[in-house]
């Protein structure tokens, strides 16, 4: 499997990343090196093996439906670049 520079540009857009042309080329090469490396896994015979969605051998890690103490509003907003009253404030987005 490999990717083209168009794939990289598309994925970058979805991930809100901006690359220069040189960077996009470099990224395409690096991604292809990684994909090629991972391709080795395709050589393993996985007939009859269920897909693995999680590397932990655990199921049903669940919590009881109980409320914990929330953090204070001021603490919640303390790392935000911008806030007003009790809200996070961000540049206008269309509804």
């Amino acid at each position: 499997m490999s990717v083209t520079i168009d794939d990289v540009t598309y994925i970058a857009e979805l991930a809100r990343l901006r690359f220069s042309d040189d960077e996009a080329l470099k990224m395409t090469d690096e991604l292809n090196t990684i994909l090629h490396y991972v391709d080795t896994l395709n050589e393993v015979d996985t007939e009859g093996v269920l897909p693995l969605s999680n590397i932990h051998d655990q199921k049903n890690v669940l919590r009881a439906d109980e409320e914990h103490e929330p953090i204070a509003n001021a603490a919640a907003l303390s790392n935000a670049p911008d806030s007003q009253d009790r809200f996070f404030r961000v540049p206008k987005v269309l509804g």
Partner: protein, 475 residues
């Protein structure tokens, strides 16, 4: 119309758990902005989600109630997109392996029973809330972020706008019977998106569909689908093509309009969330939940017919809402006469609730109090007409029916001497009508009854008034 309407619904049902899906923050609606928050739902680095057990159980309940098969193993996945009210940059949802698969709902929109199949029901979390209408910026409240939802996805089996609304009402009835959601469309605890398309009758293939969002009442769901179907028809008849897109319903203008700009991002790159382990539903859990399922409306209505000998129509009305059915069942036991109890609930009680915007749980005239009143009617202590007056007064305090009748002097007069005296007085005061009656205008009977009842302020035993009048007029 040569086109057949094809609709599939995606319904988001907000669960009424105490805490959120993946953290212990309160899931309550209406708290001050950004106060039900913690590192998990704010997406602070290093915070780890842990699934709420109740969410799994609620999903299994809804799955069983809608005839789905429950996946022994299901997986939570990340749905990736950027929006300011989605702090993590992804929504935890289920994709390839949802918890419930392939069920269905039986609905009747007035043209016989139809079966609408379900593709799936999956668990997901809600996003936060964006507020756009203050000033030049957008304000974000994360309280709702992480509140658990079940998404119920139907096959495109719905054929009329009415059916869509009936399907939705049926789903609402089920979640309310299960007690897993408030099912309130206006408040957003039940949200519906509709996929609408048209095809020529007889065609196998579906036409191009549009997705409609933002319909916040059953009526709006119907109107929006009707509007959209008509829009498609006009485009198709003019030889045009439908463009696949998402459209917002504008209830004020009564139209749908295109949601431009958000289209390109429909590549969500789902993948299993490595922070969360698979959900296992074993036989033991399945059996336990199966036993906990409530009696559903149809079964309960059938039992009401059997047990209380009330008409099927009554039983249907009384079981639409679980709380009303509970109220009736308690009342029927106390009132002794189930048909009278049914008449009161379907008549006075439901009318009053509607007029006063009350739910039956907050209604001050409890089954115990109404039962007391109905027993007084049965024993002849009050007339039916007076009972309605007593019922009104019972809403003003918690006094019992007996106390009110006593206090207001509303007891029915069944003393034949007192009634005869009034009848004599009325006949003497209306010689003209009396003469006319005796000349054959027997319709005047009603006039005399009315006069007597008015004179006795409605408290006379009407049957006795009738008997006394017949006797005196015949003489």
């Amino acid at each position: 119309m040569k086109y057949e309407l094809v609709v599939g619904l995606e319904v988001h049902c907000q669960l009424n758990t105490k805490s959120k899906a993946f953290c212990g923050c309160s899931a309550r609606f209406g708290n001050p902005a950004n106060t039900n928050v913690c590192p998990v739902c704010l997406a602070l680095p290093g915070a780890l989600p842990v699934l709420n057990r109740q969410v799994v159980e609620d999903a299994v309940k809804l799955g069983l109630a809608t005839g789905c098969s429950i996946a022994p193993l299901s997986v939570l996945a990340r749905k990736n997109y950027f929006y300011p009210d989605l702090p993590k940059g992804y929504q935890i949802s289920q994709f390839e392996e949802p918890i419930c698969l392939e069920g269905g709902l039986r609905i009747d929109a007035g043209e016989g029973e139809r079966h609408v199949r379900l593709i799936r029901i999956h668990i997901e979390e809600d996003a936060g809330k964006s507020i756009h209408d203050i000033g030049d910026d957008t304000f974000i409240d994360v309280n709702r972020s992480g509140v658990p939802l079940l998404e119920v996805v139907s096959y495109p089996d719905i054929r009329t706008a009415k059916e869509a609304s009936v399907y939705l009402q049926k789903l609402r009835q089920i979640v309310k019977y299960l007690g897993i959601s408030d099912g309130n469309m206006e408040e957003g605890s039940l949200r519906c998106d509709a996929n609408v398309s048209l095809r020529l009758y007889g065609d196998e293939e579906y036409g191009t569909r549009t997705e409609i969002k933002n319909m916040n009442s059953f009526k709006n769901v119907e109107k929006a689908i009707e509007y959209e179907a008509e829009r498609h028809r006009q485009i198709l008849e003019a030889g045009g093509a439908i463009s696949q897109e998402t459209r917002l319903w504008d209830a004020d203008k009564g139209e749908t309009r295109s949601m431009r700009g958000k289209e390109f991002a429909h590549d969500y790159r789902y993948f299993p969330d490595p922070d969360l382990v698979p959900i296992l539903v074993d036989e033991e859990m399945l059996e336990r939940i199966r036993l906990e399922l409530p009696e559903f409306p149809e079964a309960r209505a059938e039992r009401f017919v059997q047990e209380f000998s009330i008409p099927a129509y009554d039983a249907g009305v009384l079981t639409v809402e679980r709380e009303v059915a509970d109220y009736f069942e308690e009342l029927a036991g106390l009132a002794k006469d189930a048909k009278v109890a049914s008449n009161w609930v379907m008549g006075e009680v439901l009318r009053t609730l509607k007029e006063k915007y009350l739910s039956i749980e907050e209604f001050i005239v409890t089954p115990v109090r109404l039962g007391g009143l109905i027993r007084m009617i049965a024993s002849g202590a009050v007339s039916n007409t007076i009972a309605k007056q007593v019922f009104e007064l019972m809403q003003e305090s918690d006094a019992s029916a007996e106390e009110i009748v006593e206090r207001e002097g509303l007891a029915q007069v069944s003393d034949s001497g007192a009634i005869e005296a009034v009848v004599d007085g009325i006949l003497a005061a209306n010689p003209g009508q009396l003469a006319a009656y005796r000349e054959g205008k027997t319709k005047l009977m009603g006039f005399f009854v009315g006069q007597c009842m008015a004179k006795m302020k409605g408290k006379a035993n009407p049957q006795m008034v009738n008997e006394v009048l017949v006797k005196k007029l015949g003489a």
